[in-house]
């Protein structure tokens, strides 16, 4: 055993691990974070993949980071600076486009061009979704009560939950119930008529899941993406100066300022368990480090079946983890460009290049993309969410050059015949070919191309099956069921062993809520002496 003594060891320096470390350190605990890669951040990293070109390699935009975390950890002082991503442009198949702009009047004029009825409905829709996000907000900040428990704290939590739902009033409660259970396509059909609008909006409902826009449950994922708050404004997406890695760095810096120690290139092999209690960790290097608290920021599969021996766990839990769905469905293509893409629908330079470009011309387009994946193929014509970070933050690319980040769905982890280098290239080609239909000059601009399949995402970040949320945001994997019933309160059956990744409530996105809630729960429980 090494001589250094720690109160807590955090396995994995993803943003949730860093948040947990910062909160524990802030409370005076001596914390060590162990990250296997040379950089912290997990899936929120910035890396110079090609000389001079910096990429937010995986996660690329932010809106869900909890404001209380930003406040508590004083992140702006540590470098958090989020630049707004103001617009979304959806190229249409008829050569036109659908724009969504920051200015509400401009936005309304644009939508009226396609459907005056939808422009009217949008005002009410926006208001309702904001109410819905507010309705769910308290739940995001709550340790999930166990509905089967009779413990006073659980009963109090259930009562609080019941009271909260009743306080919403019938109309909002019903709307929330619909959102929790419907498909995003059905939900949006109730509001809008313009297909490309429904498609672009419903795209938020499929991200990170193996669902199509017509699959029930996708409306909840839509809501999950509405919960973002930047400077108090809901549904605002932003781009971190320096890429998403800079967010991780700011949290790491805050954690260090509170006294936490962070080690990179330090992969953990095993959690050491003695007599049903975690006593420390064994590193890949062979070193062992002891601490009374060990916290895994990895996903549930790694937390329960890799870091510890399943023999130390109850069968129910092992079975629950086996059932837990990852089903990675998205890939990422990062391009180093010699110039800017020229969209057929909006030729030349323009403000649209500072926002997102969404390849989602119709609901059927997205649904067909899903159909390919359902049967084990990547989408021949995928959904893509494209941003050009160098337009917002010039330091991301050399002068005159650009970086383009393309989030792609669907790319199933379990591809027919398995992923190979040739399949990866074919997937990259499908992405570029599809983009070229809307921006014909793109192929000539490409200097370098990085294609990441779900398998690559798993290999690099450790996220099982490449699922960006550490497990799907499906109704049966949320709240007190995330990751498994009975063990949704960040603790585990092994004393002193805790979980704090996005595989716990409330789930994925650069949110940090899991890390914060886990840390607060640990502090609460260990203070109480259990």
């Amino acid at each position: 055993m090494s001589a250094a003594r720690y109160d807590a060891i955090i396995i994995g320096g993803g943003h949730n691990g860093l948040v947990a470390a910062a909160y524990l350190a802030r409370a005076g605990r001596k914390v060590l974070v162990l990250e296997k890669r040379p950089v912290v951040g997990g899936a929120a990293v910035t890396e110079e993949i090609f000389p001079g070109f910096k990429f937010s390699v995986f996660s690329y935009v932010v809106s869900l980071l909890r404001p209380e975390i930003i406040r508590d950890l004083d992140l702006p002082r540590h470098g958090l600076q989020i630049l707004p991503l103001e617009s979304t442009v959806t190229p249409l198949d008829n050569g036109d486009y659908l724009g969504s702009w920051a200015d509400p009047d401009e936005n309304r004029r644009e939508l009226s061009r396609h459907s005056p009825r939808d422009a009217e409905a949008m005002i009410q829709f926006g208001r309702l979704m904001q109410h819905m996000a507010l309705a769910v907000k308290p739940i995001l900040g709550m340790v999930p009560p166990d509905p089967a428990s009779l413990a006073p704290s659980d009963l109090a939590g259930l009562l609080k939950l019941g009271t909260h739902f009743r306080s919403l009033g019938a109309e909002r409660f019903h709307a929330l119930f619909k959102l929790m259970t419907m498909s995003s396509a059905d939900y949006l059909d109730e509001w809008f008529e313009f297909d490309a609008l429904k498609a672009t909006k419903s795209a938020s409902g499929i991200i990170g899941t193996f669902l199509g826009p017509r699959s029930p449950g996708s409306a909840y994922v839509l809501l999950h993406h509405y919960m973002g708050e930047i400077d108090g404004a809901f549904r605002a997406w932003g781009f971190q100066k320096g890429g998403t890695g800079a967010i991780s760095n700011s949290i790491a810096s805050a954690a260090r300022a509170f006294g936490a120690e962070i080690r990179t290139d330090a992969g953990v092999e095993k959690v050491i368990v003695k007599d049903g209690r975690a006593t420390g960790v064994a590193l890949s290097s062979g070193d062992e480090i002891s601490a009374p608290l060990v916290v895994s920021c990895l996903d549930p599969r790694r937390t329960f079946t890799q870091l510890v021996d399943t023999k130390d766990l109850p069968d129910d839990l092992v079975e629950g983890v086996r059932r837990y769905k990852f089903r990675g469905s998205s890939g990422k293509v990062n391009l180093a460009l010699d110039g800017l893409p020229d969209l057929t629908c909006l030729p030349g330079y323009g403000p649209h290049l500072r926002g997102a470009i969404s390849i989602s011309p119709s609901l059927s387009y997205l649904e067909r993309a899903y159909d390919d994946a359902k049967y084990g193929e990547f989408s021949r014509h995928p959904y893509m969410d494209i941003v050009i970070p160098s337009m917002i933050d010039p330091q991301m690319a050399p002068p005159g050059k650009h970086v383009m980040s393309i989030f792609v769905q669907y790319a199933p982890y379990h591809l027919n015949g398995g992923w190979t280098d040739a399949k990866r290239d074919a997937f990259g080609d499908a992405v570029v070919d599809t983009l070229a239909q809307y921006a014909p000059n793109i192929k000539k601009l490409i200097l370098h191309r990085q294609v990441l399949t779900p398998l690559d995402i798993e290999r690099i970040t450790g996220l099982s099956e490449g699922n960006i949320f550490q497990g799907e945001l499906a109704l049966h994997q949320l709240f007190f069921l995330r990751p498994v019933p009975e063990w949704a309160k960040y603790n585990t059956p092994i004393k002193g062993y805790w979980q704090c990744g996005a595989g716990t409530h409330p789930g994925g996105g650069i949110m940090g809520a899991s890390g914060r809630l886990a840390a607060l729960e640990m502090l609460h429980r260990t203070r109480a002496g259990s």
Binding site: P147, S215, S364
Partner: protein
């Protein structure tokens, strides 16, 4: 308008019969109006070919809540088929799952020993969850906004029932209800035949495929009232399809309910913001202070002058999804090639992928190239529905777009159903009369 009646019930399907019988027994003067020639709605067996009868709309007897039967003083003689469900696998192979768990386990063991081992636990779990739904379904839906204790009381009852399930079953209830039936079967079983057999129960009459969330609930919903060990289908009245409707009609008549068939209601009359009665298609008006409609919500509000309805309420009703996706075909058969295990619900779709692929077309408003066909053979239970030695086959085909009804697109659907049945049950087509 003088009111000769205290209440008018529109539609004499089973719900209309039950409602009017109950009101009649409570002493109200009730008029029951039915557009068709007979009461009983979809439960009624009708002649579709010379000497052949069937009730076309359901492969399943449905559920008569015991509280309803008791309330009407009925003691129906309910019997479940021996086989719960079967799936035809091509080449004359079939998997038939009996309600008797030991026999079912034996049949499943031919496909997977592991699945056979897991079967008893699986059906017991589904039975417990369906049992919870059963008690839930006997309560009126709670009003979330209410502050009255009497409204809250049932909610407390539901919560207690749910916790009464115990930790494991309760979390399973909450976990399983929103799941895709595909996930449910994948979590438990490995045999594709068994998975397909179960999954077919999750997509009945819904425009969803087995991989769509919520289809586990559809499976469970149809197990409310089923006997232990069932995966599909509920007990039916032993004496035949019309017996229950006739019995309830008798109760209604005994309670002095007036029944008029062949009577089409054109409008629900509203005066001074309250219901005043109904106007018939014939022009006749009948007054009553209460009108109950058993029609679907959209058909119901279409009978009311919209000036009396709150626009938000109207809007909400118009948002209700109907989306019929099933075509029904009735076959008068000279015989059947092999009836072993065909006395329950029989699916002709041997894999969950084929089930999902049949659904894909529906997403784009088209008819399945290879529809998912299920059938039952009511004559195996009630031989008198056909001449001696002959059979009736009631086939349901999904997914057929509701937009294709009456259009050119509906051509070919019947042929595809027959083709599917012939493939699943070689020798079928040549025996169709």
């Amino acid at each position: 308008m003088g009111s000769a009646f205290d209440a008018i019930v529109i539609g004499a399907g089973l719900n209309g019969l039950v409602a009017s019988a109950a009101l009649g027994r409570a002493g109200l003067r009730v008029l029951l109006l039915e557009r068709g020639p007979a009461t009983g709605g979809e439960a009624r067996a009708m002649q579709f070919a010379e000497g052949f009868r069937a009730s076309p709309l359901s492969l399943d007897a449905g559920w008569l809540p015991p509280v309803v039967a008791r309330g009407l003083g009925l003691r129906p003689d309910l019997v479940a088929s021996e086989t719960s469900a079967a799936v035809l696998l091509g080449n004359g192979q079939r998997l038939a799952v009996a309600r008797d768990v030991a026999r079912a386990t034996q049949a499943i063991a031919a496909h997977s020993a592991r699945d056979a081992e897991r079967w008893p636990g699986f059906v017991t779990k589904l039975g417990k969850i369906a049992g919870f739904l059963e008690s839930l379904y006997q309560l009126p839906p709670p009003d979330i906004d209410t502050t009255s204790l009497s409204e809250l009381f049932p909610l407390v009852g539901v919560a207690r029932k749910m916790r009464g399930l115990g930790r494991e079953d309760m979390t399973d209830l909450l976990r399983i209800l929103p799941m895709a039936v595909q996930e449910l079967v994948d979590d438990t079983f490995e045999s594709e035949a068994l998975k397909a057999l179960i999954a077919a129960g999750g997509v009945q009459d819904i425009r969803q495929g087995p991989r769509s969330g919520g289809t586990s609930f559809v499976l469970l919903h149809h197990l409310v009232g089923a006997t232990e060990g069932s995966i599909r289908g509920r007990p039916a009245v032993k004496q035949g399809p019309n017996v229950l409707a006739n019995a309830i009609e008798d109760v209604a008549r005994a309670a002095k309910v007036s029944i008029r068939t062949g009577t089409d209601v054109a409008e629900i009359v509203v005066r001074d913001d309250r219901v005043a009665g109904v106007a018939l298609a014939s022009g006749e008006e009948i007054g009553a202070p209460v009108v109950l409609s058993t029609l679907d919500p959209v058909s119901t509000i279409r009978k009311v002058d919209p000036v009396w309805l709150d626009p938000e309420f109207l809007h909400a009703v118009q948002k209700i999804k109907f989306r019929g996706i099933r075509a029904t075909a009735l076959f008068a058969m000279d015989g059947l090639p092999d009836t072993t295990g065909l006395d329950g619900v029989v699916s002709c779709t041997p894999t969950t992928v084929a089930l999902e692929k049949a659904y894909d077309a529906a997403k784009y408003g088209e008819n399945s190239e290879r529809p998912h066909v299920e059938f039952s053979v009511p004559t195996l239970r009630w031989p008198d529905l056909a001449p001696a030695g002959k059979h009736v086959v009631v086939a349901h085909a999904q997914y057929v777009s509701d937009k294709s009804v009456g259009s050119d697109k509906s051509d070919g659907v019947a042929d595809r159903i027959t083709k599917t049945l012939e493939e699943a049950l070689p020798g079928f087509a040549s025996r169709v009369r």
